[in-house]
Amino acid sequence: MSTVVLLIVTGLGLGALYFLIASGLSLIFGLMDVLNFAHGAFLAIGAYGTWWAAGFLPGAGPDGPGFLLALTFGVAAGTLAATLVELCVIRPLYGRHREQILATVGLSLAVPALLQAIWGADPLTFPKPRAVRGTVDLLGAHIPKDRVLLILVAVALFTALWLFNSRTRYGLIVRAGVQDRAMVTALGIDVRRSFTLVFAIGGAAAALAGALGGLYYGVVTPTQGMSLLIFAFIVVVIGGTTSLTGCAIASVTVALVQQFANYYTVAGLGDIAVVIVLAVVLLTRQGGLAAKKSAERVA
């Protein structure tokens, strides 16, 4: 029983990490029709930014409020990077999908290479604040506190994105733009501002995922973003490219399948199990889990 509880909670923790990455990808693809392969780069920038700030930024540190400042710095760095990428790389290439893919794939390779050139390829130990060290007991299982933190942050992000989509004018524009971008423009709305905002939000979520991924794995590496990005893309495809709810459900599904398959079969089979789930969803529900709930899209 305690093993199942542990697998569920750690699976939810991993699912939370996937959601943090995939929610931004989903928003960006849904509104802007951009397959952003550079999303993993924002994650790496968030992770390395937090790691660097915890060690070197005045006022920041590896624990307590100092870590919160370091986390804020890392997320701000990822957000800034995303904003600059949208303005300087993506904006000139709207509607040119092939060039977008080439440009974002290039960034996804260049940023880890740059990080590796500065700090090396070896994993760097990520600071772990005292508050998230150790475990909490739940139904006989010893649950790592950092997994609980991941789940709480993902729930908070889901709520914030839901409120953004349903209660703000920009959210309204995003939901409309997902369906018909040209018509949004024909209503007198400069949809490019929404693009930049969505890209920045996606970058912030990815950077946050990078920092929390550091807590989850205990280390950061230049290529961490790329490996997580693959599963985030699978989540987006399974969840549907325009549904926040579908994205959350798919994140949890993928992570739980992965955890249980890895534990009860052979280590490594979890990844294959995820691919099988992806194939089943694509064959039975084209457009993902949220495909038939068009009225709830991006809600």
């Binding site: 939901r175 423009t185 400069d190 009225a295």
Partner: protein
Amino acid sequence: MTGGGPLLEAADLNVWIEGSHILQGVTFTMPERGVTSLLGRNGVGKTTTVKALLGLVPRTGRVVFDGADITAEPTHAIVTRGIGYVPEERGIFSALTVAENLRIAERRPGPHRYDLIHELFPELDRRRAQPAGTLSGGQQQMLAIGRALLNDNRLLIVDEPTKGLAPRIVREVADAVARAAEEVPVLLVEQNLSLVRRVAGDAVVLDAGRVVHTGPAPALLDDADRVRELLGVARAAPAPAADTKGRSTA
């Protein structure tokens, strides 16, 4: 206001889509009052002309609105000069509610003419919480027209508002277009000649991407030979009768 000059001027508009030369030097002006109807057979470039005016398709040529050259402006900037647009396919956001479809069209600062919309289409108020994708075709058209009327526009561009609608709904939509035309100039793309006869003062006829006729709409519609030659129909519809509300019907 331009003080008696044309409200809208299109000069030598050319549009190429996937290698086809769709608009071939379209040139016309629209006065600052009344309804100007853009007519022509299917596929002659009416909708493309409207999209070219709004910058929704790449084009060459020149567009002047309210005395300002808007050729180089992006679509959102053109529209915020005071243009309401009802596209042929309605452009309703199906996942949004009726109220959200209207709210997204609000331009700052107001006023926003919800009173006019609810006067014309009381059904929209009753269905404000309903997802727009679940509305009937006629209701969606009402929503599209209502959305274009929401702001204090200088021009409405309405593309085939009665296309595919049931006769009863056509009457309601025709009433709405006529009512809107009392307040704001309308560029109307329409194949329903009874509606054109009812509301239009001027007509611009396109054929194969070129303007082949401009002039008063009633004179054109009364000339059966010209109607047959330019529009390919045997005769123009008769003038509409008045309904019980004292309005004329299509």
